[in-house]
């Protein structure tokens, strides 16, 4: 039985659904899932097992999930496999998927589960029928969009750089040709430039992730939004209930667009209550909510918990209170906790297309460093990695990146 490195993908159709499945395959993926769900070692190993668990990042719960595991030889792919059933909120599914990457899995290449299943002789008649339907609906990858154009630019530049690199390795010295270190460096810089351009567009292409600031009156929401935006957007005062209706601003954090939405506080009467209700209703699936309060109480209302993609709890006015309970301690005044909050928000703003291009840029930067250290073979290896990622991005498939990109591109106009 052939077993490959651990691959992961969002395996169910994109969009909002009651449940969604993140699929893992490869030697060691059961242990990875145990770690992801915070289960004790061995809970999912040794046979077909099922376990409930919580996927947590730092100290907040990303999702409550159920995992099913299969041992080698008895799964769809024939390898060790895990399927994690999450709640079908896209933001949460993405987060779960991203965390499997952090634990050592990599995004499955297009069609990789199927390929492994087939090669291990594990495909049954029903699998074929299901797959046939899915493949026929087809997928277009990045297609004729602006992103597609940038991908092709990067691909072309990548091919040229790799060619030049190989030429330098194989021929230059043996044939008494002058080494082309400068040209190679220039081409690598160009490559990096194109990668960054793609990343920029990738983040720009997707609607900025919306972040709602909700919580009791006078928790300091507007002050925090102003501090994050770096300018006065909302009128603030020590008097509770100054903000009446949603004010929003789009900011950039690490190249990712985030729309920060300030809102009126909870509990009030009349106009205030109505404004809060409106703010609550405007929270859509996958949106991020920053729930602010001065202490551990009150917590976010249950209807919000159902709807939001993720809730980050923040205890405000850290400069005034010494208690630390109920969430991240932040003070807009002294700046305490602001860095951490920024980081959390910027991470939350990451999208699959963005994340993939981000990873490519990261690899390209590494390649550049390695080239400067004079290891051409390793540079070539890393560029080949980027090429594979790019082709995963550009070619649609049943599972994985292809679909994810398509989804991200839904809102894109052709030739933007």
């Amino acid at each position: 039985m052939l077993s490959g490195e651990i691959i992961a993908a969002w395996a169910t159709p994109p969009g909002v659904s009651a449940l969604a499945v993140v699929r893992l395959s490869g030697d060691g993926c059961v242990r990875l899932a145990e770690a992801l769900l915070g289960l004790e070692d061995g809970r999912l190993s040794g046979g077909m097992r099922r376990a409930r668990g919580e996927v947590r990042r730092q100290n907040h719960t990303v999702d409550e999930v159920v995992a099913f595991s299969w041992p080698e030889g008895r799964s769809y792919t024939g390898e060790e496999m895990v399927e994690i059933t999450c709640h079908g909120v896209p933001g949460r599914v993405r987060e779960v998927l991203k965390m499997t990457f952090d634990l050592g899995a990599r995004q499955a290449e297009p069609g990789e589960f199927t390929r492994r299943a087939f090669l291990n002789g594990r495909m049954g008649a029903l699998d074929v029928i299901a797959l046939s339907e899915m493949t026929r609906t087809g997928s277009t990858g990045v297609g004729e969009s602006k992103i597609g154009e940038l991908c092709r630019c990067l691909e072309e530049s990548l091919a040229r750089t790799m060619e030049l690199l190989e030429g330098n390795v194989e021929f230059c010295e043996a044939h008494g040709l002058r080494p082309e270190e400068d040209r190679l460096r220039d081409q690598c810089s160009e490559l990096l430039r194109r990668g960054r351009k793609l990343r920029e567009a990738a983040y720009g292409a997707e609607k900025p992730r919306r972040v709602h600031f909700l919580g009791p009156r006078n928790a300091g929401k507007s002050t925090l939004v102003n501090a994050l935006a770096g300018k006065e957007l909302a009128l603030t005062s020590p008097e509770p209930g100054t903000t009446r209706d949603g004010v929003s601003v789009v900011v950039e954090m690490d190249g990712r667009g985030l729309e920060l939405r300030d809102s009126a506080g909870v509990s009030g009467r009349g106009l205030e209550a109505e404004a809060f209700g409106r703010a609550l209703r405007s929270v859509e699936d996958g949106d991020l909510v920053v729930w602010m309060s001065e202490g551990p109480e009150p917590g976010p209302p249950p209807e919000l918990q159902q709807r939001a993609g993720r809730i980050v709890r923040v205890v405000s006015k850290a400069d005034l209170h010494r208690v630390s309970a109920g969430g991240m301690r932040v003070s807009s005044l002294t700046g305490e906790g602001m860095e951490e909050l920024r980081r959390t928000l910027s991470e939350a703003g990451e999208t699959p297309l963005g994340a993939c291009s981000d990873r490519m840029v990261g690899r390209l930067e590494t390649a550049m460093r390695i080239l400067q250290k004079g290891d051409y073979a390793l540079t070539a290896e890393i560029l080949a990695d980027v090429k594979r990622m790019l082709s995963g991005l550009m070619n649609g498939s049943v599972e994985g990146m292809g679909k994810a990109v398509e989804r991200a591109l839904d809102g894109l106009c052709v030739g933007k």
Binding site: G4, P110, G111, L177, L378
Partner: protein
């Protein structure tokens, strides 16, 4: 040869492939004879007097690890050493030695004798017996020479034809006869013999050159050995020179191009793209004003110099004009004029990965006669062919090599089974596992192969593995910044040199071996991934597509891919995946189709 003798292994050809084939068979205890037209020309460097280079240098080390003679011979007869790609990373270092060509021939002949290989001076005319069960070779002088297995390592001699301007004669190389009858016999037996061409530059008399105006190419690094034995290093040192052709050289080519056998259409075989004739360089790159030419001695105090880069088959008069147009070569006298060779080679489909000719039970082939180019490529194939011929005699299973573990494996995998479109030369980029296939770990990589072929890796290799194990242990137990030194050296910013000074006691080990172990660790993640990819690809290659009559009806494949697949008709799923225009989702479509067929 005494009458009635039946050899175990009979090797046809005394070139670099033939030598290694004979030696590895002898090492397996076989009675071996080698047929060559002229014993003095055994191991001759018919083209450039150098061994090694990028990727090729690694092959030499792999050959040495398997007990071959090329590395030790190159060390004993080397006259200048250079490490190509020194500044481009240890995985692509290309050790290369300039050789005393005559001395090398003598060294190899003597080494054959020392190892009990009988040299028969003769020209083979045909195989003896049925194709399926060959009984030996029929030779011109000795008549029937019987053997239980045969290795054909005929180089360019199989129906070899030589060309220079309008001159044309038969021969395997200049001054040698051609195995014309042998080629006819192979064709009569319905072997698929195709033709390639290659060429060689003129040799110049040393005293006719003005070396003082040429750029000197100094030796780079000392004491590098291809071989594992501490053989005395070479007969002395020599210098190489660099000059360049110019516009006048190109003009001569253009003026005489209609007299070129290549451009006149008299040679039909395809030549090596990566080692083109000078005519090709000029005609294909008309804008390039000049091309580099290396002036290399053929040996210590040799009378002749080799003009690397000026391979040509133009008429003598044109060659004189070309050579004399070059700076430093104004008064050059040509000792041997350049010429082209066209020769027969076996199509890759005739061979399997043990290098046996498929339709025979006991005939193997190696080297240029399989479509490769280069001494190192030939030697590596020869070694395996000889070993497998011997294993057949010993009624043992022949050995195959993995492309994940050696350049030998990469090359044989590339050459065998598919049709080549040009003479095959090894490049480092042909390997998907380049970070692993380094010169520094060739010995350790090949140890399991040596064990498989010869029953044991040999004492020196085992010692080497032992020291490598001890080094790993030392690196694991030494602590740096709270981690083991082994983990520490995985960090990209930690250089291999640094590691040598970080742990007490590490200095007592061979520094080269320490570096090698550290590199293994540094690249480990990449290497593991590459190996998995190779495995996956191999699995895809094993899925035959011959059952698919038409791609038109497979609705899961997009239109563009259908057209490509209909036209190209790939034999395997792996081939299909490699076609331009076939996307991963189309491969998936093919899989769906295959699985559907299988389940109904």
């Amino acid at each position: 040869m005494s009458p009635g003798t039946v050899y175990d292994v009979l090797v046809l050809g005394g070139g670099h492939a033939g030598i290694e084939a004979a030696l590895s068979a002898a090492r397996l205890g076989c009675r071996v004879a080698l047929v060559a037209a002229d014993r003095k020309r055994i191991g001759e460097m018919s083209c450039n007097p150098a061994i090694g280079g990028v990727a090729k240098g690694i092959l030499v080390r792999e050959i040495d690890a398997l007990g071959g003679s090329m590395g030790r011979g190159a060390d004993a007869c080397g006259i200048q050493f250079r490490m190509l790609n020194r500044s481009k990373g240890p995985a692509v270092w290309g050790p290369r030695k300039q050789e005393d060509a005559d001395l090398y021939s003598r060294w190899q002949l003597k080494n054959l004798r020392l190892n009990g290989v009988e040299v028969l001076e003769d020209v083979a005319e045909r195989l003896l017996g049925e194709t399926s069960e060959v009984e030996g070779l029929r030779c011109r002088r000795l008549g029937s020479v019987r053997a239980r297995a045969v290795v054909i390592a005929a180089g360019t001699f199989l129906g070899g034809k030589l060309f220079r301007g309008s001159e044309q004669w038969t021969g395997g190389r200049i001054g040698d006869v051609s195995a014309e009858r042998m080629e006819q016999d192979m064709r009569r037996r319905m072997f698929h013999v195709k033709r390639f061409k290659t060429g060689t530059p003129p040799r110049i008399t040393r005293r006719s050159l003005n070396l003082s105006v040429l750029d000197l190419q100094e030796e780079d690094g000392e004491g590098y050995l291809f071989g594992h034995e501490n053989s005395p290093e070479g007969p002395g040192r020599e210098r190489c020179y660099l000059t360049r052709s110019n516009r006048r050289t190109a003009e001569v080519v253009k003026r005489f191009i209609d007299q070129s056998p290549l451009y006149g259409g008299r040679i039909s075989g395809v030549g090596p793209r990566y080692c083109p004739s000078f005519e090709d360089k000029v005609m294909k790159f008309p804008d390039r004003e000049s091309h580099a030419l290396h002036v290399e001695p053929m040996g210590i105090d040799s009378r002749w110099m080799y003009l690397n880069g000026l391979s040509t088959s133009l008429p003598r008069r044109a060659q004189e004009k070309m050579v004399r147009s070059v700076e430093g070569l104004r008064g050059a006298e040509i000792a041997v004029y350049g010429y082209a060779v066209e020769y027969g080679y076996f199509d890759g489909a005739e061979l399997n990965r043990t290098l046996r000719l498929l339709r025979t039970g006991n005939v193997f082939a190696a080297g240029q006669v399989c479509g490769t180019s280069g001494y190192e490529e030939a030697a590596a194939m020869g070694l395996l062919a000889g070993a497998n011929a011997a294993r057949i005699c010993r009624e043992e299973e022949p050995v195959r090599l993995s492309r994940a573990r050696s350049y030998m494996g990469v090359m044989i995998d590339d050459v065998v089974g598919k049709g080549l479109t040009e003479p095959y030369r090894l490049f480092s980029s042909r390997s998907e596992n380049r970070l692993h296939l380094r010169p520094d770990n060739a010995d350790r990589r090949m140890a399991p192969v040596a064990e498989r072929i010869f029953g044991s890796a040999g004492e020196w290799l085992e010692k080497r593995l032992e020291s490598a194990g001890a080094i790993s242990k030392a690196l694991r137990s030494a602590r740096v910044e709270g981690k083991s030194l082994m983990e520490h050296c995985r960090r990209p910013e930690v250089g291999t040199e640094e590691v040598l000074h970080l742990a007490p006691g590490i200095g007592k080990f061979d520094a080269e071996l320490v570096r090698s172990v550290v590199l293994d660790e540094k690249y480990r993640g990449y290497i593991e991934r590459s190996e998995r990819r190779i495995e996956q690809r191999k699995r895809m290659e094993n899925v035959a597509l011959s059952g698919i009559d038409s791609y038109r009806s497979i609705r899961e494949i997009c239109y563009e891919a259908r057209v490509v697949l209909e036209r190209e008709r790939p034999a395997t799923l792996g081939e299909a995946a490699g076609l331009p225009g076939v996307r991963p989702s189309d491969v998936e479509g093919i899989i769906v189709h295959l699985a559907r067929e299988r389940s109904t």
